[in-house]
C-alpha cells in the first residue's frame, strides 16, 4: 500500500511542468494546425489517455508535436476505477506507458466504472456511495498512484440514477477518497449542475460541501436537456455544445473559493472548428484573469 506523502513527493520533479491556471482545450487532432498557428496560445491541452495507447503512427506523431509547445494533461476514460472487480492491470500498464512517454503535467481519471465481466461499455457508469465501494475505489486509486509513481486527480461524475445502497453524500464520498488516498480532485462543474438537476438538489449546496481546497483542475462542458418519466428536466452530459450560462456562473462562484485554477473546455461530440472552441477558452481565460486580480496574483494549482 503506497504512502500518500511518498506518492506526493514523487510528483515534485523539475522535468514535469505544471498546468498553468489558464484555459485549456480537449485536444482533437483536426485542430492541431490551427492551434499551432494561432496567435492565441491555449494554456494547455488535455487528451483521453486511451486514444494514445496504440503502438505508433499519426496519433503519437501529432501529440509529440503538440507536447513540445503546450503543457499536457492526460485524462483516462477506461480504467474503470469504480469497478466491483479488480483493476485491469494490463490497462494500468498501458496508462503508465502513456504517462512515461509524455510526462504530462496532470493525470486524471473518473469516479465511475466502464468494464464489467470483461465487457467494455465505453461510458462512465455510476457507483453507489457506500463503505464497500469506498474501500474498493480507494484500493484502486492507491494501486494507480503506486504504479504511476504520482498522484492523480479524480473527477466527480454526472449521473442519471442513484442507488438504494448509497449511505453517504457524493461530496462526503469524494472527500473520504481524497483523504484516504492523497489523490487530488478534478471538479467538473457541468457534472455538478447535471447531477444536481437530475437528483433535485442545489448545485450551490453541493459546491459548498465540496472539498474545493483539493481541486487542482476544473472541467467545463455543454449539456443537453431531456425529461425524466415525470416530465422533470433530465440533463445529459453531452459535451456537444457551448458551456451553459448557468455553468459559467457556477464557475465564477467556484473560482471565488479556489482562486485561478487550470480549466478545461471539453467538447467531444459534434466537435466544432477551432475558433468556436477557442471562443469558449477565451471566455474562461477572461474569468480567470478577473479572479487572478482579486487573488492578488496568487496562483492555485500551478
Amino acid at each position: 500500500m503506497p504512502n500518500a506523502a511518498a506518492v506526493a513527493h514523487h510528483t515534485i520533479s523539475a522535468t514535469i511542468p505544471t498546468l498553468p491556471a489558464r484555459a485549456g482545450a480537449g485536444f482533437k487532432e483536426q485542430h492541431a494546425d490551427a492551434i499551432l498557428s494561432d496567435a492565441y496560445r491555449i494554456g494547455f491541452l488535455e487528451v483521453h489517455a486511451e486514444n494514445y495507447m496504440g503502438d505508433g503512427g499519426h496519433p503519437h506523431r501529432i501529440l509529440t508535436r503538440m507536447r513540445e509547445d503546450f503543457p499536457l494533461s492526460v485524462h483516462g476514460v477506461g480504467l474503470s476505477i469504480g469497478s466491483p472487480a479488480g483493476l485491469d492491470l494490463q490497462h494500468l500498464a498501458r496508462l503508465k506507458a502513456v504517462v512515461d512517454r509524455y510526462e504530462p503535467a496532470m493525470v486524471s481519471e473518473h469516479l465511475a466504472w466502464s468494464t464489467h465481466d470483461n465487457q467494455f461499455f465505453n461510458d462512465l457508469l455510476p457507483v453507489p456511495y457506500d463503505a464497500e465501494t469506498l474501500a474498493r475505489v480507494c484500493e484502486h486509486i492507491d494501486q494507480v498512484q503506486d504504479r504511476l509513481g504520482r498522484r492523480i486527480l479524480l473527477e466527480n461524475p454526472s449521473t442519471y440514477v442513484a442507488f438504494e445502497a448509497t449511505t453517504m453524500g457524493e461530496t462526503d464520498f469524494i472527500r473520504a477518497i481524497a483523504n484516504r488516498t492523497g489523490c487530488g480532485l478534478l471538479l467538473d462543474i457541468n457534472n455538478v449542475y447535471v447531477s444536481a438537476t437530475n437528483h433535485g438538489y442545489a448545485a450551490l449546496d453541493y459546491l459548498a460541501d465540496f472539498p474545493t481546497k483539493l481541486v487542482e483542475e476544473i472541467h467545463l462542458a455543454g449539456h443537453a436537456e431531456d425529461q425524466d418519466d415525470t416530465g422533470q428536466p433530465l440533463l445529459i452530459d453531452s459535451h456537444d455544445r457551448p458551456v451553459d450560462s448557468i455553468v459559467w456562473d457556477l464557475y465564477d462562484h467556484v473560482l471565488a473559493a479556489t482562486g485561478p485554477c487550470p480549466t478545461l473546455i471539453e467538447w467531444d461530440n459534434d466537435v466544432p472548428d477551432w475558433p468556436i472552441l477557442k471562443r469558449e477558452a477565451e471566455l474562461a481565460d477572461a474569468i480567470l484573469a478577473r479572479h487572478d486580480q482579486t487573488a492578488g496574483g496568487l496562483r492555485h494549482g500551478g
Partner: protein, 263 residues
C-alpha cells in the same frame, strides 16, 4: 432492499439487453420508474459504440447507408460487445458477423470490405519503423539473393479477398464513384504504412503468395517458388519491385559473409 445492481452485474446486463427491465436497487423519485433515466446509459453505450464502428468501417457504412449500418451495428454490439477499453481495436469479428447477417446476403462484398477496413486501422496504429531502402539489395552478392530474408514493417498487412474490396475502399475513401466497379472481382490487397499514411494497393498475380512467404520470413527463393506455384503469370521483377518500394518491409535479414555487419 434489492441487491446492489453494480456489484451483482444487473446494471451491466441491462445496458445492452433492451428486453431486460431497469435494474432493481435504484432509488425512485415519486412517479418515476427510472425508465428514461436508465435509457440515458443505454443510449450512451449504444451510440458511442455505434459511432466507434462507423468511424472504423467508413466504407461499409457508405455502401449500405447510415440507417442499415446502424441497425446492423446495434445487433453486432449486443452479440459482440467490446472486450477492451481500446475502442480503436473493436470490430475484429465484424466482418464474420456481416457474412452471417441475412439482410446483407445480397452484398457479398461487404464482409471483405469490413475485413480490409479493420486491417487499415490496425496498420494506422502499428509501431513506427523505418522502411527498407530499395538500394540495400544492390549491396548483396547475386549468389546470396535467393537466401535473403526480409523483415516485415510492423504496419504491413495482406488480405486475399473474393471481392473487389481494395478498389472499393480506395475509391470510396478518395470520394470517387463506384459505379463502374465490379464488386465480384477477386482482389488481393497489400496494406502498408511506410511513414504515417496508410496505403492500400492491389497486388498483381502471384503477389499474395510472394509477399505472404516473405512476411513469414521465408527466403526470397522460397517466395518466388510460392508465387509460381500459385500462378505462372507471376512477374518476379514486378513482385520484387513491390517488395522493395512499397514500404512493406523495414529491412533485410542478411549477414554479410565478410564482416558480419548488416548491409
Amino acid at each position: 432492499m434489492a441487491a446492489e445492481p453494480v456489484a451483482s452485474g444487473a446494471f451491466a446486463a441491462a445496458l445492452l439487453d433492451p428486453a431486460l427491465s431497469v435494474p432493481d436497487g435504484l432509488t425512485k423519485r415519486a412517479g418515476d420508474t427510472n425508465a428514461r433515466r436508465f435509457a440515458v446509459y443505454r443510449n450512451n453505450v449504444m451510440v458511442s459504440l455505434t459511432d466507434a464502428l462507423a468511424s472504423i468501417f467508413l466504407t461499409v457504412q457508405n455502401l449500405v447507408g447510415e440507417e442499415f449500418f446502424r441497425a446492423m451495428a446495434r445487433l453486432y454490439i449486443r452479440a459482440h460487445p467490446p472486450r477492451s477499453p481500446l475502442i480503436f481495436t473493436y470490430g475484429g469479428d465484424f466482418a464474420a458477423f456481416i457474412s452471417a447477417f441475412p439482410p446483407a446476403r445480397d452484398l457479398p462484398f461487404l464482409a471483405d470490405t469490413a475485413r480490409l477496413e479493420r486491417l487499415w486501422l490496425d496498420s494506422f496504429h502499428s509501431t513506427d519503423s523505418r522502411s527498407l531502402d530499395p538500394a540495400a539489395l544492390a549491396a548483396i552478392p547475386p549468389d546470396d539473393l535467393g537466401q535473403l530474408r526480409f523483415n516485415a514493417h510492423p504496419a504491413t498487412r495482406i488480405l486475399r479477398c473474393g471481392h473487389a474490396a481494395a478498389t472499393i475502399v480506395n475509391r470510396d475513401r478518395a470520394g470517387e464513384p463506384l459505379t463502374d466497379v465490379n464488386p465480384m472481382q477477386a482482389e488481393d490487397a497489400l496494406v502498408t504504412r511506410p511513414a504515417f499514411d496508410v496505403k492500400v494497393q492491389l497486388l498483381p498475380p502471384g503477389g499474395y503468395a510472394f509477399l505472404k512467404a516473405l512476411l513469414e520470413q521465408q527466403t526470397l527463393a522460397e517466395a518466388c517458388e510460392a508465387a509460381f506455384a500459385e500462378t505462372a503469370k507471376s512477374d518476379l521483377a514486378a513482385l520484387l519491385g513491390i517488395a522493395l518500394s512499397s514500404g512493406a518491409f523495414s529491412g533485410l535479414d542478411y549477414v554479410c559473409a565478410n564482416n558480419g555487419a548488416e548491409p
